[in-house]
Amino acid sequence: MPRRPNISRQTRLLFVALLERPLDWRHGYDLSKETGLKSGTLYPLLMRLHDQGLMAARWEEATRPGLPPRHAYRLTVEGAALARELALPEEKAADGADGTVPA
């Protein structure tokens, strides 16, 4: 069983971005643009999540010729479960702030 990571604000941001399209493989730069995390923060985070088995990584052929294969990432089943678990209280809080009643 993977160790539960320290959940920082940055990890939450990354989880939220990855949860938006959980089945798609995403590239580092795209994730950085979506989350606003700099590469110096993003890569160590990706490495930790990968080590803990919460995120899968694979090499993808480049879409343009002459470019090297790129590393792509997506949540594993465990990672997605943890991300949902973490995202839920935030969603509830947001719903409460809006004054709406969650279904």
Binding site: S39, T41, Y43, M47, H71
Partner: protein, 310 residues
């Protein structure tokens, strides 16, 4: 102007990510390749350099994190041993001055022992003493067989079988992309008739024994360095005691000063014996045990590979 700056910026970004990849520890090599590939895929712009600089920071963070992995047990031993000696003295003798007299001798023993190990290593042409000491400081668990070890081992075996001398040659020979693990690609590679033919030819010429012996020798280096350090500690403890006794002889006519000085000198040899037999040697035994465990796995993998190829 932009046309002039853009290629320069890209080149600088590439150089920075190359540096970031080099800064990462070995087991993170694939992440270094990922950073480099990301820069190649990015459009020109200011973000390119910022991204590359961030990658350098990530590389440094990972490198520092790996270097700071000195085992807790080692630190505890290093702190507890002097405390234990002082405590024993306080309980049984109540003469902490003896310990104060002994401290320079103990310090001399530890440092001179380390110096002797390095000097002997240099004289024997063994330039891996520092690396071995680093492995010792990181603790036996750090030296255990991991995915990187297996990957390197398989690369070495395949290099030997393909009559080459390094993992790069194997990759070239097998047209394996840099980011792809040789270990992971192994089952696929064995189904390649050309690779099998090359390996069978290699197996006929080059038995796996020397490769395994080479690996065992390299992995046993921390243990050998520890044993050397243990021996050096005892000798240096003797030297420290002799020096202490000689110093005490200066005050032979003053028994109140002579006694603590001689006692302090004798603590030096006791300290070196406790260090050598109680700390260094058990640690070396543990390293030897771990290496033997790992070598059993290596031998089985080697035998399975040879059987599979045949």
């Amino acid at each position: 102007m932009t046309a002039l700056v853009a290629p320069l910026r890209r080149r600088l970004a590439r150089a920075l990510t190359r540096h970031a990849a080099d800064s990462l520890p070995t087991h993170r090599a694939a992440w270094g390749e990922a950073m480099r590939a990301e820069v190649d895929g990015m459009a020109d712009g200011d973000g390119l350099l910022r991204w590359a600089l961030g990658c350098v920071m990530a590389g440094y963070r990972e490198r520092l994190g790996a270097a700071a992995s000195v085992s807790g047990g080692m630190v505890v031993r290093m702190v507890l041993l002097p405390l234990l000696l002082i405590g024993l003295d306080a309980v049984f003798g109540g003469r902490t001055t003896v310990i104060l007299h002994a401290l320079p001798g103990c310090g001399f023993t530890v440092l001179a022992g380390a110096w002797a190990v390095m000097a002997i290593g240099r004289r024997r042409g063994d330039d891996g003493v520092i690396a071995a000491l680093r492995a010792v400081l990181a603790g036996p668990r750090q030296a255990r067989l991991g995915p990187d070890g297996l990957e390197n081992f398989l690369a070495q075996l395949m290099a030997a079988l393909c009559q080459g001398d390094g993992p790069d040659l194997v990759r070239r020979e097998l047209s394996l992309p840099l980011g792809r693990s040789i270990f992971g690609a192994f089952p696929t590679l064995l189904h390649d008739p050309h690779v099998r033919m090359v390996m069978v030819a290699g197996l006929a010429k080059q038995p796996l024994g020397p490769v395994l012996e080479g690996i065992q020798m390299a992995r046993s280096r921390p243990e050998a360095v520890l044993r050397r350090y243990g021996d050096a500690l005892i000798w240096m403890g003797l030297v420290a005691t002799l020096m202490g006794v000689m110093k005490a002889l200066d005050v032979l006519g003053r028994p109140e000063a002579f006694g603590p000085l001689v006692a302090g000198a004798l603590v030096g040899i006791g300290f070196s014996l406790v260090c050598a037999k109680g700390v260094v040697r058990p640690l070396a035994d543990r390293f030897a045990h771990d290496v033997e465990d790992d070598m059993a796995v290596y031998r089985r993998i080697g035998a399975a590979l040879a059987a599979e190829v045949r």
